[in-house]
């Protein structure tokens, strides 16, 4: 079975992770930059990658930069900002054709690495400031991006749950930042933050494809020169639930959005993390799970009724879209399912099918280069080194008792309901 593992090479200031595989027709380069999620820097970190991807001192305009990528057989290049636990992570992703499948064979990988270095180290600037035009464009763009969370009500309800639930914890901060902080950022202050990122962030580069490891390392030594650092690590805040919060907000929606948050008190790397995954699978992760069967199939209350885990913070979040008038019934059914889990009322069949689906899901994820990077990166965020084989093996061995033990740790924290106005 093709389970790829990364070879990790520690260079000054960053690590290069290489996965050699003939599975793809492209080579994928992902640069991850990690720092603790903090209110003071969240909006800076959310804006920065968009400035860097716009242009460089070499490719002075976006059309020039994008034309260059087109010439490299339409290399795809994008950036992303996300939170994992209480870290905020910036990603640069470059996917580039493998010249093997093309009529002419330019050295595309080398050009890709050089391009990424140009984006990171050689921005278009004006003294100790980012180019003001670029800065203003991206500031405005980010403002619209932050506003658009509100426009998508399913997403907004999820955001509101996390804000209400984790009000006093870093995790309550949105990875996009906020409008107020954005207003106060200048092209100079962002440039100075950028210089800080280059010396302080924990940096990891992933290279996935049919490549030569020695060549790749040589190319990185040549193009990526960074100072050594001691990245700031933090453990996610584990908060005890004192009283369950219930927050109901009225909005102009046709469908009520019900989001429920629990504390699992278990994070990635903990011995019972695998049992927690199986717990979530039986409870609400899949279309054979209790939530889907009972909220959707049996009661016909919803189209979607599912749960997912935030592995690094230790949260379990349920989401469902319902008629506002059915709020009490839906909440009751969801509570009943949780009670069933805590009492161990699930069959051997539910257990074995959940294990089979989790295994399938993991193996499928690593079939895509991006999915593989996300799985490997869990280890960087958590500081553990868990191989996919170990993950699969541990999942296979989980017993009913272990799941019931995990269920006892799961605590209801917040019920958020976005209620329609038309009831």
């Amino acid at each position: 079975m093709g389970i790829s593992l990364d070879t990790i090479k520690k260079n000054p200031g960053y690590s290069v992770h290489i996965v050699k595989t003939a599975q793809y027709k492209t080579n994928t380069l992902v640069l991850k930059m990690k720092a603790p999620l903090k209110h003071e820097t969240a909006t800076y970190r959310s804006l920065l990658p968009y400035i860097l991807q716009s242009n460089t001192a070499t490719y002075k305009t976006t059309p020039a930069l994008r034309s260059y990528l087109d010439e490299l057989y339409g290399a795809s290049f994008y950036v992303d900002v996300a939170k994992k636990g209480e870290y905020q992570i910036i990603s640069f992703v470059l996917e580039i054709a493998n010249e093997k499948f093309l009529h002419d064979s330019e050295p595309l990988l080398e050009k890709g690495i050089a391009f990424l270095a140009d984006v990171l180290f050689n921005p278009k600037k004006d003294g100790e400031s980012f180019d003001i035009g670029t800065f203003n464009n991206e500031k405005r763009s980010l403002q619209q991006r932050i506003q658009s969370i509100y426009d998508d009500k399913m997403r907004y309800a999820t955001t509101r749950l996390v804000e209400v639930m984790c009000e006093e914890e870093p995790y309550g901060i949105d990875a996009l930042g906020d409008i107020e902080s954005l207003d106060s950022i200048t092209a100079e202050s962002l440039y100075s933050y950028y210089k800080q990122v280059l010396v302080e962030d924990e940096m990891d580069v992933y290279v996935i494809g049919d490549i030569n490891e020695i060549d790749v390392q040589k190319l990185f030594n040549q193009h990526f020169k960074l100072p050594n650092r001691e990245p700031e690590r933090m453990k996610s805040v584990q908060k005890k639930v004192n009283t369950v919060k219930e927050k109901i907000e009225e909005m102009d929606v046709k469908q009520g959005k019900l989001n429920i948050g629990y504390r699992t008190n278990i994070v990635y790397g903990d011995p019972d993390y695998y049992a927690l995954q199986v717990f979530n699978g039986i409870f609400g992760g899949f279309s054979h799970s209790k939530l889907f069967i009972n909220v959707r199939e049996k009661a016909s209350l919803a189209y979607y009724a599912a749960s997912r885990l935030e592995s690094h913070k230790g949260l379990l979040m349920v989401m469902s879209g319902i008629e506002s008038a059915n709020y009490d019934q839906a909440v009751t059914i969801i509570h009943e399912q949780m009670k069933e889990m805590k009492q161990g009322n699930f069959s051997d069949e539910e257990l074995s099918q959940t294990k089979a689906v989790i295994k399938n899901q993991l193996l499928e994820t690593v079939d895509s280069a991006r999915g593989l990077v996300e799985i490997l990166y869990h280890n960087i965020v958590s500081g553990y080194a868990i191989s996919l084989e170990e993950w699969l093996k541990k999942t296979e061995s989980i017993t009913k008792e272990e799941i019931v033990d995990v269920a006892q740790k799961v605590e209801l924290d917040t019920i958020y309901f976005m209620k329609g106005t038309e009831v």
């Binding site: 339409g74 889907f292 979607y304 193996l363």
Partner: protein, 428 residues
């Protein structure tokens, strides 16, 4: 079983048409964990007026019935097929589009068993009045979920603007009112008409042995009885070439306005290589004009008219086709005017050139290679192409054939005031 080789791409496809008319394609992919199969019928939301199998007269069915049928096919007398797939470690799904209904699964083990489950459940319907009624609540919530989504409303609002009569303007899921009319008998009638093997295509991609799989499918199909294939008669009202409505404004709970400009396509009887060439040529035109490497995009972005959500797309099938351009904007009126200006100026050659065409073609070739990494993309697109007599693997050769004169001619034909419409979503 025939074998088709695509040398430059280092891919092989195995094909066989079963005696009952079912088309089967297998694309072996070494090195992948995952196998993926789609079982698709050429039946979508637009097929709402047809002669039911065994009858003489045309009949109209309620809006949203193809999608409703897709939901109900998963339910059997002894339970839900989703359960069956997860017991076998697979994850299953389905979707309904304007022209297709696809059932699919992916798995990393027990592929043969899962494939049998897929083929058997799609070929063995079980509908009852009770479960049909229950589904109305679930689909009602699906419809409301989309009602709250401004991007979806904008998309359908634009299509509604374009079409006078064609059923493409009807939401795929129908409405709460239209699905209320659906009965078990109507479902059987649609099923019998459109789920005949001769109207379906099975596509398999993954680390599989094609000869063995083909043999299993053959014996599975030979063990089942079907009526002899019959031509399906669909009817569509005549559709004028101009747009039905020039503009529409929807008010929703949003902070940033959104606009979408639609261009209704003409020459809707194309298929095969002609259709492929047209789709690719229009895509190249849009990319040249509005892509991130164009000075026009830079200008729109710098003047604050567009942001990262700006996008454009062109699609055409037998009987309908459109280009859609738009995104979030703080200045909906100004952006609309500007986009129209850009389109009309393109007819005079502004914003397009042979040089940028070549660059864009190169980009499209890279994009195509990238998409071959995705089994889902290959299976879905291959099927869509096959239903329109096109071949997915012709994309690169057809791209390489496109000349600047083709782009000019396409631009001239596509851009016309009477084909253009605009939909906006504004804050309440």
């Amino acid at each position: 079983m025939e074998k088709i080789t695509f040398e430059q791409l280092q891919e092989e496809i195995f094909h066989e048409k079963m005696t009952n008319g079912l088309e089967v394609y297998i694309l072996p992919k070494k090195g992948f964990n995952k196998s993926f199969a789609t079982f698709t019928t050429k039946y979508g939301s637009i097929d709402n007026h047809f002669v039911p199998l065994g009858k003489k007269d045309y009949a109209k069915v309620p809006d949203g019935i193809a999608h409703f049928l897709e939901h109900k096919l998963f339910e059997k007398e002894d339970g839900d097929v989703f359960q069956q797939f997860s017991k076998q470690g697979a994850s299953a799904n389905a979707f309904t589009s304007f022209t297709r209904t696809a059932y699919l699964f992916s798995s990393t083990a027990d592929f043969d068993l899962n494939l049998k489950t897929l083929v058997d459940f799609v070929q063995d319907p079980y509908f009852s009045e009770k479960t049909v009624e229950k589904e109305k609540g679930i689909i009602g919530q699906e419809i409301k979920m989309y009602d709250d989504n401004p991007d979806w409303r904008l998309y359908f609002g634009t299509i509604e603007n374009m079409y006078h009569n064609h059923p493409v303007k009807i939401d795929i899921a129908g409405t709460v009112e239209s699905i209320a009319e659906i009965t078990k008998d109507l479902l059987y009638e649609c099923y019998e008409t459109f789920y005949h093997p001769s109207n379906m295509l099975l596509f398999i991609v993954g680390p599989v042995e094609p000869g063995e799989i083909m043999e299993k499918i053959r014996s599975n199909q030979e063990g089942k009885e079907f009526q002899s294939p019959q031509e399906i008669k669909r009817q569509f009202e005549t559709e004028p070439s101009d747009v039905a409505v020039k503009d529409r404004t929807l008010h929703m709970s949003v902070q940033t306005p959104k606009i979408m400009l639609g261009i209704k396509s003409a020459d809707l009887n194309l298929s095969g290589q002609e259709l492929l060439k047209k789709e690719l040529t229009v895509s190249i035109l849009l990319e040249m004009l509005l892509g991130k490497s164009s000075p026009i995009h830079e200008d729109l972005y710098t003047s604050g008219l567009i942001d990262q959500t700006f996008s454009y797309d062109f699609t055409q099938e037998n009987g309908f086709g459109f280009a859609l351009i738009g995104g979030d904007t703080a200045h909906p009126e100004e952006l609309t005017a500007k986009l129209k200006q850009i389109l009309f100026e393109a007819k005079t050659g502004k914003g397009i050139s042979e040089e940028s065409m070549k660059r864009v073609i190169k980009k499209r070739i890279g994009l195509f290679l990238r998409s071959l990494n995705s089994p889902e993309y290959i299976a879905n697109q291959f099927t869509r192409y096959a239903f329109n007599d096109m071949n997915l693997f012709d994309v690169v050769p057809v791209l390489e054939q496109i000349e600047f004169n083709d782009v000019l001619a396409t631009t001239e034909r596509l851009i016309d005031e009477k084909f253009i419409t605009v939909c906006q979503v504004l804050p309440k």
